[in-house]
């Protein structure tokens, strides 16, 4: 097995896992907040937020990567400011995670939003009559009941982050051990005549990792469903 993939490939696998994991995790909190706002509030500019959230889906990844580069690069508007406080995304695995998170964001938000919209507000009302403040209601009723959507969203986000290529390579390029994720490696192999076999090996690795994550998520989903009593 160790011989089946070279050390570089193993590094890519590890990096992809790391990037996907943190992308997923990093997107969760803002994802939940945005989804909640979109599902439950009416505010000025709601549609603009909605469009912004979906943008990474609509634009070709290269464009998103380019926009990320312009904003979060060391010379970029936000990137420059962040650099001052020591946060650098450019050409780091953190940047790959950022790119993956941005690309996965619409998927996460949509899933969570769907779940929030499916929650019966009457249950939240019941919690309020029992003395729960808005925040308390959110954490004790809304969040547990939106777990199916959260989980689905996280699975999508993780999968998307595992497969993200265009935005990542444009934003943080392809530095072995740093930003060379599985998709970059696969892409590189596909650029060379006869590289298909090597690429397919990595494709298989991707599939195995994804299958593992998916099965884990299904197990969790079952548990949640049993908890919420629909199973």
């Amino acid at each position: 097995m160790t011989e089946w993939l070279g050390p570089q490939e193993w590094a890519a696998v590890g990096l992809s896992l790391k990037v996907a994991f943190w992308a997923m995790l990093g997107a969760v909190v803002p994802g939940v907040l945005v989804a909640y706002a979109l599902a439950r509030w009416d505010f000025f500019g709601k549609q603009i937020v909605n469009v912004l959230v979906h943008l990474p889906l609509v634009l070709p990844p290269v464009a998103t990567g380019y926009l990320l580069l312009v904003t979060f690069g060391t010379q970029g508007l936000i990137g420059g400011a962040l650099k001052e406080i020591g946060v650098v995304f450019a050409f780091r695995w953190t940047g790959a995670a950022l790119a993956a998170a941005v690309m996965a964001f619409p998927l996460l938000v949509r899933s969570i939003r769907l779940s929030i919209e499916a929650i019966d507000p009457k249950l939240e009302q019941a919690a309020a009559t029992l003395g729960a403040s808005r925040l308390m209601v959110f954490f004790t009723v809304t969040v547990p009941l939106m777990l199916p959507g959260l989980l689905a969203g996280m699975v999508l986000a993780f999968a998307k982050a595992m497969g993200e290529f265009g935005a990542t390579i444009t934003f943080v390029s392809n530095i072995p051990g740093q930003t060379r994720t599985l998709p970059s490696a696969i892409y590189a192999f596909l650029q060379v005549p006869g590289g298909e076999t090597a690429a397919m090996r990595l494709v298989v690795v991707s599939i195995i990792v994804a299958a593992g994550a998916l099965i884990l998520s299904e197990v969790l989903a079952r548990r949640i469903a049993r908890k919420v009593g629909q199973a």
Binding site: Q125, L130, G229
Partner: protein, 361 residues
């Protein structure tokens, strides 16, 4: 006044305009299906925000649209038993019960966990999920959850509707205790006359979104012209004290000196109680009846005879124990020549005073 409510709200094709005040105690909201009971309670709970509302409970202003006051629901210190359960599906019965309790540590308990579990008979269900409960079990857990939230105001929307008679009989006294011992203001929706008679301090009758009538339970129940509860609801409510517990299981009450025999009443001697005597349970006689199995025979004078459209008539008889209502046929009224001022005897079987109809006061 313990509760003051004024609500004006409009739905599609339904206008709610309700205004009433109720003294300390339990206020029953009464009215046919769709008359606006739940809407009123929701507004009191702050779950709906009516166009116009003023809700004052025990001098605390919960909302006053004129003054721009609006206490959010979670700060109203409620215990709301919803008409449809609304248990949290993701929590065990135990967690459901303790939800509000944990949030209101500062307020005094009105019931301990063990007490509630015991009264409601839900000890065996504590680790289950709501989806694994029967209809009545859900309802009981919902009651428990509201009671354990250390409420300062209880809202109960048909809390006992899904329960069997013996279970109701076990839970009812508990609402009495909340009303009397804890002096909690309670807004209570029910269609059951037994519950009205037993629990209500005040009855607010709603009709198509408006207040049809407000009065004490005794007033409303003993008004033969008030029919929305059905003819069986008419009856007198007598004030009495527990005089003596007899050895054969009967309890003797004294209503202004008149002895009334009832099956065992679970209150100590000297305790004040309310006794409802349904009008249809009273037989009238011109002569003192003899050799009857009925133990309670009270002499009195006919105050009025009212006959409605049907074959029945309601005869009010003033007795020393208070005014008693009898629902008899017009034919009997004629045969007995009952009319204003005539002396007669009211015969009440001891057991016809149903235990549910004895309330403490």
């Amino acid at each position: 006044m313990s509760v003051e409510v004024h609500i004006r709200q409009g739905f599609r094709g339904f206008d709610l305009d309700v205004r009433f005040e109720a003294p300390v105690g339990l206020t029953v909201l009464f009215g046919s299906s769709g008359s606006g009971k739940t809407s009123v309670i929701n507004a009191v709970a702050g779950l709906s925000k009516p166009k116009k509302s003023r809700v004052v409970v025990n001098d605390a202003v919960l909302s006053d649209s004129a003054a721009g006051v609006w206490v959010p629901t979670h700060q109203r210190s409620l215990g709301y038993v919803f008409q449809e359960g609304r248990l949290f599906p993701h929590m065990s019965v135990r967690k459901n019960l303790m939800y509000g309790n944990g949030l209101a540590k500062a307020r005094p308990e009105v019931a301990s966990f063990d007490q509630v579990v015991d009264i409601l008979g839900i000890a065996a269900l504590l680790e289950r999920r709501p989806s694994e409960l029967s209809g009545g079990e859900k309802q009981r857990v919902a009651i428990g959850r509201a009671l354990l939230a250390r409420p300062k105001l209880i809202l109960a929307d048909e809390p006992l509707a899904a329960l069997d008679e013996p279970r109701k009989a076990e839970i009812l006294p508990y609402f009495e205790r909340l009303r009397d011992e804890f002096s909690l203001p309670i807004l209570y929706v029910t269609h059951s006359i037994a519950e009205v008679a037993r629990l209500a301090t005040t009855v607010v009758a709603l009709k198509e979104g408006k207040v049809d009538r407000v009065g004490t339970a005794a007033e409303v129940l003993s008004d033969p012209s008030f029919t929305p509860m059905g003819p069986r609801a008419v009856g007198a409510v007598l004030e009495a004290v527990v005089a003596q517990h007899h050895e054969d299981g009967l309890t003797e009450l004294s209503a202004n000196g008149v002895a009334l025999m009832l099956p065992e009443v679970g209150h100590p001697t000297g305790h004040k109680v309310r006794v409802r005597v349904a009008a249809h349970d009273v037989i009238l006689s011109r002569e003192a009846p003899k050799g009857l199995s009925a133990l309670n025979i009270v002499e009195g004078k006919v105050h009025s005879v009212r006959s409605g459209g049907g074959p029945g008539a309601i005869v009010s008889v003033d007795t020393k124990a208070g005014r008693i209502l009898a629902r008899i046929t017009r034919r009997s009224a004629a045969a007995l020549e009952l009319s204003e001022g005539v002396r007669c005897y009211a015969v009440m079987k001891s057991v016809s005073v149903a235990p549910q109809d004895i309330g403490t006061r």
